[in-house]
Structures are given as C-alpha cells and as structure tokens.
Symmetry: C2
Subunit: 425 residues, 2 copies
C-alpha cells in the first residue's frame, strides 16, 4: 500500500528549516520526503496549505485519568485534591480503565499525538484500547509500594500486558516506578532488575514538588537524583517525569547517564508545584521532552497547548525569548521525545526509512494566518482545531479532523456513563 | 424575531452556580433565562449537551496586527522585534487595516468573543470590518506622540470613525493613549479632555515592563500610576492594559478611582515582560479583566487560551490553587470585562433585559468529557474547537462552529495577499 501526500510544507525536524514538497508512505514506513516522480501511489492526497511534522510524542501521561477530568480539581492543596481522587480511583475496574483510556486516545489523536508513555494500573486495558486506536505507546509496568507488591505486579500484571500486546510492534513495556515517596528502595531495585532483564527502560516521577526534595533529604539524607543514583537506578536507561527542582550538582549525574527530563508545564503550574528551569537544563546538555500528565491535572492531553505554555513560562522566567525558541519547543514534542524513549531510530523526524508517524496541520485558518514562520505558528497560534490528518505507522487515524479508528460519540457516551457510575458508587 | 435555545447548561456568571434551562432571545435582548413555556419562538435550537455563558469580552487588542502574526517574532529583545515590526506597520494602508481587522474578527467570533476593545490607527477601517462581522466593540481614538499630533487625530480621525459608526449602537469610541513613553503630557491631557467632552472613557498601556517603570522614575520622578495621577488622568473613567509592575502604594490610587486592569498574560510572557500579580490586585479590590493583546505578540486572539494561562501562572506564582479559581477567571473574561468598559448594564451576565451576547460551547467532545465542573472544563480543558454558537446583540455570528456573517476562506485568502504585498513592498 502506497500513499502520496502532495504539496505540503514539511518540517522534518532534522533542522530548523522547512520546504514545500511531498511525502510518500509505503506500508508502515516513510518511502521518501521531498520529491519522487517515480513513486506510484495507490492513494494521493492534495495537502496544499497544510504543514507536515513528525507525529507528536507525549512523554508522560496517565490516560485512564480522563475519567477524573475536571473532578473537584480546584482544591487548596495537592493533598486535599488527592483525598478526593484516591477514593474514586479505588473503585475503577478493568471496564472503566478501558473506557477512560479510549477517550484519552481519541483526544491524543485529535491533538496530533502518535506516541505516548503511560503510567497507570490495569495497563492491559490501556494497551487493548491503544491497539484499537492504532497509537504507538510505551506502557508502564507500574510499580507502587514495597518489594512484595513489586513482585506481585511482575507476576500478575506483566503477563496480562504481554497477552494484550500479542504480536504488535506498536507497544513497548517499561518499568514505571511511581515515586520515591510511594515506593520503597526494594521496589525500585526490583523494578530496575526487571527492566534490565527485559532489556527495556525505567522511568519515575521525580523532584516534582519542593516538599518531595525536602522529604528526600530528611528520609534519605540525599536529594532525589542522588538518592536514585545511590540505588544505581540510572545504570538502566531511564527518563524522569517533572524534574521541577533538580539541583545544579544533580544535573551532571543525569547528563553522565544520559537521562532525559519529561517536562509537564500545565500540571506543574496547575498543582502549584513550580516551573522547571528547562532552559538551564538544556544548557547543561540534558535532553528535554514534553508530557501532558493525566487529564485530571492539566485538564487536557494536547501537546499543542503544552508547547505553547513551555515557551511562555520559560521566556518569562528567563527573561530571554531566545532561551527556548519555537523550534526548540517543537523538538521537545517530537525528536527529543523519541530520544527520551530511545525510539529515535524509528520516529521523531520525517526521513525516508523511519516509520510513518506524521501529523498534518491545516494552518490555512483564521487563527494561524498568516503563517509567516511555521514553527511560531504551531507553537504560538495553533490549537486542536488545526489538526487535520494523523498517520501512525502508515495507518490513517485522523482525516479532515475526523477520527478514523475510533467513534467519538460512542466514546463520549460511554465515558459519561462510566464516570457517573464510579462517582455515585 | 424570537429565538429559543433549549436544554442548555447555563452559567449566568451572576454567581458560581449553574443549572439546566432554556434561554429566550427577543430581537436584541435576552427575554428570559431558565424556563418560560409561554415564549413563542420563531426559531428553536436544541442545545442539549451544550453550555451557555455570556459572550467573552476581550479588554485589549490591536486587531489589525493579525497581519503580522508570527512575523519574525522570536527576537532577543522587544526592541529588536519592534525594529522588524515598525517598518511593516509604516507601509499599511486602509485596505490592509480593513483586511487584518476582518481576519481578527473572524478569529474572535470563532473563539467565543462578542466584545473587544481596540487600539490602533485607521480605526474607521476596523469599525467598518466590525460592523460587517456584527461584533460589539470599544474603538480607540488612538493617540500617539505630542499635543499637535493629538489635535490632528481628533480633527482628522474622529470624524472618519463617526462616519463609519453611523447609527450603530454596537460601537463606542474611547480615547486610547498609547503609552507614557510614546506620548507627551500634553497628548495625555488633550486625549483626556476629549474623553471628558465626549462623556466616554480613556485607556492606556501602563507598567507593562520594568524598564517602563524605571524610565518613568527617571523622567518624571514618579512611578507610572503616580505620574498619570499627577496628570489627573484617573479623574476620567479609565482602564489600563497590562499593569505588570504596579507598586503596592499605587493600588490604592487605582482602587480609589475605580480603575480596572486588563491582564494580557500571553503577551506579557511571550515578550518576557513579567507576570502581573493579579491575585494580589484582586485582594486589593481592583477589577481585573482579560485581553489577548494583538496577534503579533500572542500569537492568537483566543480568550479561552488566556483564561487557561491566567489561572496557571497565577497558581504557580502564588503557590495557591484557590487564589484565582476557574470561576474567578471566567468572571475576568465576562462580567469583569464588561465592568472595566462600563458596559455591565448591557452585557457580561446572562439575565433577562441584557443584550443577547451569548457564547455556547459544545463540551460533549473528547477533550472536555467528563465535564464534572463546567467552570474547570471551560478554563482548563476547552479550546476553540469547542466553540459552537455565538450570538451578539441577538444576531447569530457562529453556528455549529461555522461563521455566519463572514467568509473564512475569502478572509484567509485576502489576508495572505495583503501580507505578502506589505512584506515585499
């Protein structure tokens, strides 16, 4: 199957330039980028006025938390909010996790995302939804608690995840350890050993709040990064979500071990955690990617919004509009995300031979005209109303803004029913 | 002409509650809110699953600057950017101002805005576009320079504006004085006298950057608010755009004179100006409204985005999620905007007798489901893709997300032509 996308403005994300050209897709892969008159397509789309970029990579989310979007979310403290959330989460079954994940996937596709990393429980349900949607993912075998619980999850949850994945090459399983304040040293060590044995990566929430840093010093006599280093956590390829309060001397440790930071600006602002100084981290040579966090602490899953916010809060806090340019921000949401997940051999740029994960925006709209500079237009002007077409591994998931693999009305209906059920249980 | 909107979730913005009900529109006005079985409608819309709120009020913009959206906007300094912008602005004629304004109006309607305040030159062209679009506005008779220039503008520009307004009651003209660093004392005094004579309001950019405050102290031996007070500026009803660096002792002056602040968070972040501490201003009893600023320093005109950003940056800088709740933010974009412009007798809430400026959002979408709390859903989850229907003064400007008074394709085409012409002149 050969598909030809004609007359696009193409942002390969190999550099900060762009050009007019065509893209050929053959089965799962990009056959060419630019021009190839000998390419005989089965289907040809005229994409005049539209812009192609690599499918966006959401480095950190909890998809099924779409169930709790906008639920009692304005609370005086994080703890007060968690006190509302936890009792509801305890009532969730496979069915709600599946429905919530499906809703999250519809939202990801409609906002131009083709790859995401998830951390939640009952991940087999999220995998099932993900494969129906056709979205690429890194699924967390999620650890929470002590060593005994960690072993139980490897024993019970991992086989379910494997079964849900089947023979698909769209899903990888990483070890996702919740946090240093909810997981014991043994839990971290078991999770890491599992990741090593399975030749995969580990990730964790880290340095999200100042309280976490204070507690780490109190409990372990070490700041969070140094504590994880003491557990040899970074000996396994790893990435960290949040990283709001990383100390200068910790940056060298992360650089040495090639650890990426997944920046979640909406969540960090909304929960009053703080603003991660990512321009400084970048200057220190760290790879910075972007995540939305879950819909209950954002409250949506659009990387277009996260890119905009990442630039704005970086610019105002550094007082330097060049500290994080629109091009650098778009890298965070594409190739940097791919690098963080060690998927950059497959995705993250538009190049022949890479898998065909492509997002196409219609910038010929009043909110994005004139385009002038497509990087600025995407980061500053665009929103989900501009997302026109999405391919993942060569499969069309969105066309003309309409979902091709999922039924939006059905998803919305089922989500409402599921939410009403669990809230009123 | 009687229109009935049925089965809405209604946010009147009279308080922080909401309810299911109907809204009746009779000619220009709201006939009832809630239920009225005896209302005999000419047209009835079933709005099940949709949410009605007062039409959004954009307290500060420069509509025609849509022409320069995304144009060389990532520059190391504000001055470097202005050096790129000014030569282009000098080439603009009536035709480009009209086309740029029309594009801005299309974007305002598509993002749920029904009233805006503009400050730009050739305002008669913006008025012409505005009346075609059917959007309510407060147009600045804009002052820039010295006293001689101020008199020239009253003599030459104001009659053109009056002619463009004709008999319409959708437009009011205020005196809009650019800034204390571009306008002389005489200019401010002439503008204010004109506003007094015409029984209208004055507005100006103030305390936008720290440099402006420093220069004010150097040049006038007074901080900006005190300098304007020394000119008796606040004796005429007034409002200020930006107000990022208002000192504590200045807040009392503004409170005493009932001066509103128009907060422009995207622009203030993007231009690295700073974050206005609006939660503190609010605690001091000031009325805070919201603006997008022009599209070249934002780079769009969506108050939905501004509401989201206003909450996020307030929450993270105050470390208090309750400092500016979603309800308070939605007030900023509705009734507070109406109060700032002294239009709250006509608009800003949904009440019978007020003019029918109504924005209807479709929250039955994957990005906003579950709604749980409509204030959270609007401020945190929604974007322009959720804007379904817009009425201004009882006239339908948007239906099912489609513009009714303007032709989007034609506007985009004309805008591109105009921009290419002026950039390449």
């Amino acid at each position: 199957m050969k598909t030809l996308l004609k007359n696009l403005t193409i942002l390969t994300m190999l550099n900060d330039s762009f050009f007019l050209g065509d893209i050929g897709i053959e089965d799962k892969k990009i056959a060419f980028v630019g021009s190839n008159p000998s390419f005989k397509a089965d289907i040809t789309y005229d994409m005049s006025g539209k812009v192609a970029l690599p499918g966006l990579v959401n480095g950190h989310t909890h998809l099924a938390m779409t169930l709790l979007r906008n639920y009692k979310d304005t609370q005086p403290t994080l703890q007060a909010w968690l006190n509302e959330i936890f009792p509801i989460e305890n009532k969730l079954t496979d069915k709600e996790i599946y429905i919530g994940s499906l809703a999250g996937l519809a939202e990801l596709i409609k906002s131009g995302c083709t790859t995401y990393t998830d951390m939640y429980f009952n991940a087999d349900q999220t995998i099932k939804a993900s494969l129906e949607a056709g979205v690429r993912s890194v699924q967390g075998l999620t650890f929470f608690g002590d060593g005994i619980e960690a072993k139980r999850r490897i024993r019970e949850n991992y086989p379910k995840m494997q079964k849900a994945i089947g023979s698909s090459d769209l899903v990888r399983t990483d070890a996702a350890v919740h946090s240093i304040y909810t997981c014991t040293k043994e839990c971290y060590q078991i999770a890491q050993q599992w990741a090593k044995d399975n030749n995969t990566m580990v990730n964790t929430h880290l340095s999200e709040t100042f309280k976490e840093v204070e507690d780490s010093i109190k409990d372990f006599s070490l700041t969070p990064v140094k504590y994880l280093e003491s557990l040899h956590f970074f000996d396994t390829p790893s990435y960290l979500a949040h990283g709001v309060f990383i100390q200068d001397e910790e940056l060298a440790i992360l650089k040495e071990h090639n650890v990426s930071i997944i920046h979640n600006p909406s969540s960090n602002c909304k929960l009053a955690s703080g603003i991660a100084p990512i321009a400084k981290y970048k200057l220190n040579g760290l790879n910075i990617a972007l995540g939305t966090d879950g819909a209950s602490s954002n409250n949506n899953l659009s990387l277009l919004k996260e890119m905009n916010l990442a630039n704005l809060i970086s610019t105002v806090t550094t007082k330097n509009p060049m500290a994080l340019t629109p091009y650098e921000v778009l890298k965070m949401a594409t190739i940097n995300g791919a690098k963080a997940l060690k998927l950059d051999d497959k995705i993250g740029t538009l190049e022949s031979g890479k898998e065909a994960d492509i997002t196409i925006l219609d910038l010929d709209r009043v909110n994005t005209t004139p385009v002038n500079n497509p990087f600025s237009a995407i980061v500053f002007s665009a929103d989900t109303s501009n997302v026109d077409t999405v391919f993942c591994q060569g499969r069309c998931l969105l066309s003309g803004g309409k979902l091709k693999t999922l039924d939006e009305k059905e998803i919305v209906k089922n989500l409402k029913t599921a939410v009403n059920k669990v809230i009123n249980l």
